[in-house]
């Protein structure tokens, strides 16, 4: 087969753009027949969305909002949303209860990649297609679940490293503010960054890595300690924008000038992009949370009988001084 049903890039502001599979490139695909499900009408079906974390971080707010907006736009009447409040056990139960409520399609933003066995078994028994967004589930596409839509976190780490190398001219000492421990986003963003530094930035030494738990206050506190004991640090890689902004507050408090220490982070929130404009951040790698349009488009195509790729990797933007001011409106 040569054309897959990968949705085309749309012109709407800030909307997700598919990176792979692109146009002609192929990968395994999945059709309704292969999956073994039956067709139903999305508009009248019960659709479940399971959010993993509270809608507090701009990323999560944008993510849930995008799903809700798109459902409303498409006239889906019966969207049920649960929130696991960052408790994995609760998310498993949430999804099971969505199934019990008769969900025919599940969109899941998983908290964790492993541990989905009970949900997958139940969904498979009822042939309920699952689309996971943002984070992956470690299982077989097209049988355990339908497909995954999201960013390549490893690549995000690599791109952050590229930016850091550029910022420091290939030389210097760097600290990492890690995401929440035990989280595959953290792991992949760390590995991507470190691997790329090893590969292309041999002049750069990673002299410090501590968790900031994806939170602004923790990012601030760790940075305060860091600049005390490592005053010779040149760059900070923050694995999300919140921690980067916490780091900025710490640097301000310590009397540093904007740009004195180069900060690279991941996400693309408005505040962070503004931070580039203000000179505090060097660059931000986007992680686009607006999954609504792609998710429902993919679901509809699947229901229409078209083949669906086994994973849809979106292409994330990059913000730096050249485009920050002009793209501010696209940030979330």
């Amino acid at each position: 087969e040569e054309t897959t049903a990968a949705p085309a890039a749309s012109s709407t502001q800030g909307q997700q753009v598919v990176a792979t599979p692109t146009g002609a490139s192929t990968g395994p695909t999945c059709t309704l027949e292969q999956f073994g499900g039956t067709k139903f009408d999305l508009k009248t079906a019960v659709v479940g969305f399971s959010q993993s974390e509270k809608e507090a971080n701009p990323f999560r707010i944008a993510e849930t909002q995008s799903i809700k907006d798109e459902a409303a736009k498409l006239g889906i009447e019966n969207l049920r949303v649960t929130n696991a409040q960052s408790q994995f056990s609760k998310q498993i139960t949430d999804v099971q209860q969505l199934i019990a409520q008769g969900a025919q399609l599940l969109v899941i933003a998983p908290l964790n990649s492993d541990g989905w066995e009970p949900v997958l078994q139940q969904a498979a028994a009822k042939k309920i297609p699952i689309i996971t967004v943002d984070r992956k589930i470690n299982a077989k596409p097209c049988s355990d679940y339908l497909t995954f839509i999201g960013s390549d976190f490893y690549q995000q780490g690599q791109r952050a490293a590229d930016q850091m190398i550029k910022a420091l001219g290939g030389k210097g000492k760097v600290a990492i503010l890690l995401g929440a421990p035990g989280n595959n986003v953290t792991t992949e963003r760390t590995n991507g960054f470190k691997d790329r530094i090893k590969e292309k930035g041999t002049g750069i030494e990673i002299s410090f890595e501590q968790t900031g738990e994806f939170a602004r206050e923790k990012g601030q506190q760790v940075t305060e300690q860091l600049i005390q004991s490592n005053p010779d640090i040149n760059g900070i890689y923050a694995e999300n924008d919140e921690m980067a902004l916490g780091a900025v507050t710490a640097l301000k408090g310590a009397g540093k000038e904007p740009g004195e220490i180069k900060i690279v982070s991941v996400d693309g929130t408005k505040s962070a992009v503004q931070g580039i404009v203000d000179g505090w951040l060097y660059s931000v790698i986007e992680s686009n949370p607006r999954f609504g349009p792609l998710a429902f488009e993919t679901a509809q195509k699947f229901l229409n009988g078209e083949p669906i790729p086994d994973k849809v990797i979106i292409s994330d933007r990059e913000y730096d001084t050249t485009n920050a001011a002009s793209s501010l409106s696209e940030a979330y």
Binding site: A56, N57, R216, E224, Q228, S229, P231, G246
Partner: protein, 324 residues
Amino acid sequence: MAEATTAPSGPPGRLDRARVFIWLQEYGVYAAVLALLAFNVLFTPHFLDAANFRTQLVQVAPIVIVSLGMALVIGTQGIDLSVGSVMALAAAVVVLYLGYGAWPAILMALLAGAVVGAAGGSLVAYVGVQPIVATLALLVGVRGIANVLVPQLKEFRNPDLIALGSGSLLGLPLVVIIAAALTVVVTFLVRRTTFGRQVVAIGGNRAASELSGLPVKRVLLTVYVISGVLAAIAGVLATARLQASDPTSLGQFIELSAITAVVVGGTPLTGGRIRVLSTVMGALLMQLLSATLIKHNLPQSWTQMVQAGIILAAVYATRERGTR
């Protein structure tokens, strides 16, 4: 009889050891803080910089303030799990009212803290709900309210509030001055006022206190209100420092840090006794510990295991010994 007591009877080492125990019980935390300081001076680069001490004090200030309230509550044989959520609520309220100026906003935040404290205190004092459950319900619910009020992290530019977080007076950060002042106030409250004596009496024997005509319910209520207000102050200061209101994560698990500070400082969880200065030392000990581990770039797993060890060691050294 009292006169007939000085002649030591047992083997000579015995009495000395007893004295060491009593000394440890009284001053163990201070010794531990000194030991940790000494370690850092020797092994942590740039530790002796003035800026470093500043950082440690600024970071520990909110925990100290929350711990002061916690010490009072624990003195009544209670516990207050809601403090972290109260911090979050104060953070939410303060930005909501920032339009009216910093001080009115702060006042509203403290009021919110008082209301939550009053809710918990009423449940404990008048309804008779066990403190841990009453404040657990608040821990869950109040953070929810804070999030409803301010659903996502909100930055602000109010110069007064920012100055509160990062300003200094005579070279000392305002945050630290406030924490110190509150420590003095609470120490005075505990040592010198009728209220303070009543707090410990109630913690020591509630039935007896009632029969002695102490306003038991009112005192309990007041204690929880104080704890709520102190937590709100901590919340406002932390928010001022962060220059953003973050009700989702502000103050999470701070109840455990505060309880640890109180207990490591030698205040028993069984109530009837409050040690204010040692509580501050307890908070300082835990702060220095985590700073040390971060500065030496140890992974999270290490940090937690070492903290566990230090808590055990400190409490073991300061525990009350039986007379057997």
